[in-house]
């Protein structure tokens, strides 16, 4: 066992980490100082795990970096102290900090692929840490590296040592980065969004590993995440941040069960609670609008290769139906083919096999103007879906003029109506996209889609670029206008709570196939497919925190 353990024992009594009144200011190009972290104080005892939760821009990542004595270019610690094991990191010189990094405090950065050097084998990268930081000899470093890989649950460590980062899966990379971070057994381990880049099955395994590491080590752990489910899963304490300030902190069981602050309640409100009734309204029974049968798609390869080895299938034998005015949720993680499916229905892509029948007529590769009008799409990234050089009103009026043949005045009146239906002030029509918030931009994109007067709307991850607080508002507006116009909707998402909120029926996709399809309430309450069950298990952890009886029922 490394020597560090003895020191750790002594530190158990008092907090390892004491942050007092910490402020970090960021100076913009215009010279104005902006407080990104504002008067943050907290303690962390040895062996404890703290979750820092917050939306993007809350300052949580800046705070995490500061715990390693690091600030992004342009920002400085403007006040307060960070005492780690007695030393104030704010007062330490750069070389002193550098000496402590990796040994006393270590970080697991967000993107494991970007944090590994691609020209070196992962074994060498880990051994480098052990030689330079822990001062081990080449031979000792190799043995310890094997031991660490084994500890990380990586299969066949001997062979893995000789692999390059791109040859590993996302979960394996994350394990390698974790191994590097704990190589010198640091007192404080900071994990920045450790599972965001991983699919749910891998996420569960990595979280299990982190939990095991926590019980084997004495050091403290800080996990930065936007996902309250992760906090519920592995943290003892939680700290909720907004606009650089701490909104609420306390033990997870307490905060999640009875949050004191409205903001915390709002964040927790987005958590999936399948035991409550779904808010999705049933559609009036209508005839079938969209019928997909035996759909298959592969990416084309260069013509010589195509005959010998066709590309891997992206979609295989997909079949689904959607009635008029109905909302169908399509759940899948990245790589499941759900976006490809949306692309085929809208006409961005052409399927290789199978039929897509829309309102009784098979859709050809070339759509008629009427079909184009009736099938509209809303994209994932709200900013890039609006032309930055055009006023948003222009963007909404364009389909009105193109499809409805309205003149400037009538189009502008109709655009204002659509804005009002989506809860946007008509004054915003003359703004440019950058002058709007992400939620407003996405509502403008929805207004543009509805301007065409569609019968079918494809929504591809429309909430994933938005913060939890904005998502709820956007979905409410979308549900209202959808019901009012009687538009059918294909809601493609990886977020189960979005489907729970919006869709009565759901399809679960994985690896280009449909695993399960049916009523949302039935599938979410008693999934038959193990993959669906795993997705649900991951998505309902926040709701189950502090309610052990629910874990029994669902986990």
């Amino acid at each position: 066992m490394p020597l560090g353990w003895m020191q750790h024992e002594a530190a158990v009594a008092e907090p390892v980490l004491q942050v007092r009144d910490l402020s970090i200011a960021w100076r913009g190009p215009d010279g104005r100082a902006n407080r990104v972290v504002d008067g943050v104080s907290f303690d962390l005892a040895a062996g404890a795990t703290l979750g820092i939760a917050g939306e993007s821009g809350s300052g949580k990542s800046t705070l995490a970096r500061a715990l390693l004595g690091h600030c992004r270019t342009g920002s400085t610690i403007s006040g307060g102290s960070i005492r780690l094991n007695g030393d104030d990191l704010v007062a330490l010189s750069a070389p002193d900090l550098a000496r402590r990094r990796g040994r006393v405090m270590a970080m697991v950065p967000q993107n494991p692929l970007a944090s590994l050097t691609f020209h070196m084998t992962v074994g060498r990268q880990l051994q480098e840490v052990l030689r330079l930081r822990a001062g081990l000899s080449d031979k000792a470093a190799r043995l310890r590296a094997l031991e660490l890989f084994d500890q990380m649950g990586l299969p066949e460590p001997e062979q893995l040592m000789g692999r390059y980062p791109h040859q590993l899966s996302g979960g394996q990379r994350q394990r390698v980065v974790l191994a590097c971070a704990i190589a010198c057994d640091p007192l404080l381990l900071v994990l920045d969004e450790p599972t965001t880049a991983l699919d749910k099955t891998t996420e569960a395994q990595v979280l299990e590993l982190i939990r095991r590491l926590r019980s084997a080590r004495q050091g403290a752990m800080v996990i930065v995440t936007h996902d309250l489910n992760v906090v519920a899963d592995i943290c003892d304490r939680v700290l909720v941040m907004q606009h650089g300030r701490i909104v609420e902190q306390g033990p997870v069981a307490e905060v999640f069960v009875s949050p004191r602050e409205a903001y915390t309640r709002l964040l927790l409100g987005a958590a999936l609670r399948v035991e409550e009734a779904s808010r999705a309204k049933p559609a009036a029974p209508g005839q079938a609008l969209l019928e997909i049968t035996g759909l298959g798609f592969r990416y084309a390869r260069p013509s010589i290769l195509r005959r010998i080895a066709p590309g891997p299938p992206i979609l295989e034998d997909i079949g689904l139906t959607l009635a008029q005015g109905e909302v169908l949720g399509v759940i899948g993680e990245s790589g499941s083919g759900k976006t490809t499916l949306g692309g085929i229905v809208t006409g961005l892509l052409t399927a290789d096999t199978g039929r897509v029948v829309f309102d009784g007529a098979a859709l050809a590769a070339r759509r008629t103007p009427e079909q184009r009008r009736r099938i509209q799409m809303v994209f994932q990234d709200p900013l890039s879906s609006l032309n930055p050089r055009r006023r948003v009103g222009d963007s909404v009026m364009r389909p009105l003029r193109l499809f409805q043949g309205l003149d400037q005045r009538a189009a502008s009146r109709r655009a204002a109506e659509l804005f009002e239906q989506l809860g946007l002030e008509p004054e915003l029509l003359s703004r440019f996209p950058r002058q709007l918030s992400g939620g407003q931009q996405q509502r403008v994109a929805i207004a543009r889609a509805f301007a065409a007067g569609p019968d079918l709307l494809i929504c591809d991850e429309i909430t994933s670029a938005l913060d939890a607080s904005v998502q709820a508002q956007l979905l409410d507006h979308l549900a209202a206008i959808q019901r009012r116009q009687g538009t059918a909707m294909l809601l493609i998402t990886h977020d189960l709570s979005v489907v729970w909120r919006m869709a009565r029926r759901v399809v679960v996709m994985r690896g280009g196939r449909i695993l399960e399809a049916g009523e949302t309430e039935v599938i979410f309450r008693s999934p038959t497919n193990p993959y669906t069950a795993a997705l649900l298990g991951a998505a309902t952890r926040a709701a189950r925190a502090g309610h052990p009886e629910l874990i029994e029922a669902n986990g």
Binding site: P29, T346, G347, L348, R367, P369, R372, R373, I375, Q376, M377, F379, Q380, D381, S384, S385, L386, N387, P388, R389, R390, S395, R398, P399, L402, F403, A445, R448, A449, A452
Partner: protein
């Protein structure tokens, strides 16, 4: 604009350009003598009347210097405009259409890179005659090739954006998408390209004049003045150095201003400078 002027190099560049443009515009009024009239004995050394002396035909070198940027700048800026407008339309069309149109256009651009610039203009000028419009078109085409490449690259990125996808899905026509969705979003790139192409065109025009392929005598022109003075470099160095300095300061000025503009707009200067 303010961000640009915060950079000292950019303000210096802008100052140089403005000074040159003002002098060129005001030349008819501020020049002490007419640039083409034979006034005195040839090759007078600089004195109180003729500040830079007289040239080999007895014309006032200083007056000719003040006049000498007018035609070159006209050609350079017009050619820059031709290059940027034409290049952007071609480049964005290629990004929009891709396929064989894109392939052919790129091969043409590569062919131009393989042919020496001066040779290309020489053939062009021999074919269509030596005049200012022909020169503008020839230099404009030369400069256009680089613009095609940069705007095409920018256009390919824009084609992936949601608003272009949405317009395509709605069945908007190609020209509408290119003019409404693509062109306005490469405007900042075009501004920087214009400055870089104009400075490069100015150097090219001066070189062509020096070789006798550009602006024809007796029009006062820096390139021509350098050529005339070459033989007398040892006895009358001012006749070469003064126009050379003018060309150098103007080109330097435009380049510094362009770099400042690119920085201020957040464009990579290296991207605009290639091709």
């Amino acid at each position: 604009m303010r961000a640009m002027l915060l950079r000292p190099a950019a303000s210096l560049g802008l100052l140089l350009v403005i000074a040159h443009v003002l002098i060129a515009i005001a030349a008819p009024w501020i020049a002490p003598f007419a640039p083409t009239s034979l006034l005195d004995t040839p090759l007078e050394p600089p004195n109180a009347t003729y500040w830079l002396g007289t040239d080999d035909l007895g014309r006032d070198a200083f007056s000719r210097l003040l006049w000498g940027g007018r035609v070159a700048m006209l050609v350079a800026f017009s050619a820059g405009a031709v290059a940027v407008l034409g290049g952007a339309l071609l480049g964005l069309s290629a990004a929009y259409r891709r396929g064989s149109f894109d392939d052919v256009l790129l091969r043409l651009v590569e062919m131009k890179l393989a042919v020496p610039t001066i040779l290309f203009v020489a053939i062009f000028v021999t074919g269509f005659g030596q005049s200012v419009p022909v020169l503008i078109v020839a230099v404009g085409i030369i400069q256009m090739m680089g613009v095609v490449r940069t705007t095409r690259a920018a256009g390919i990125v824009l084609m992936e954006q949601g608003y272009v996808r949405a317009a395509q899905l709605n069945g908007e026509s190609g020209p509408t998408i290119i003019l409404r969705d693509l062109l306005p979003n490469v405007a900042d790139l075009m501004a920087v390209e214009f400055a870089l192409r104009a400075s490069s065109a100015l150097l090219l025009v001066s070189a062509l004049s020096f070789l006798g392929l550009g602006i024809s005598p007796p029009t006062p022109d820096w390139g021509l003045m350098v050529e005339d003075g070459m033989a007398l470099l040892e006895s009358e160095p001012a006749l070469v150095l003064a126009p050379a300095l003018c060309i150098a300061t103007l080109v330097l000025g435009i380049n510094l201003a362009a770099e400042g503009l690119a920085d201020a707009l957040g464009l990579d200067a290296a991207r605009g400078g290639s091709g």
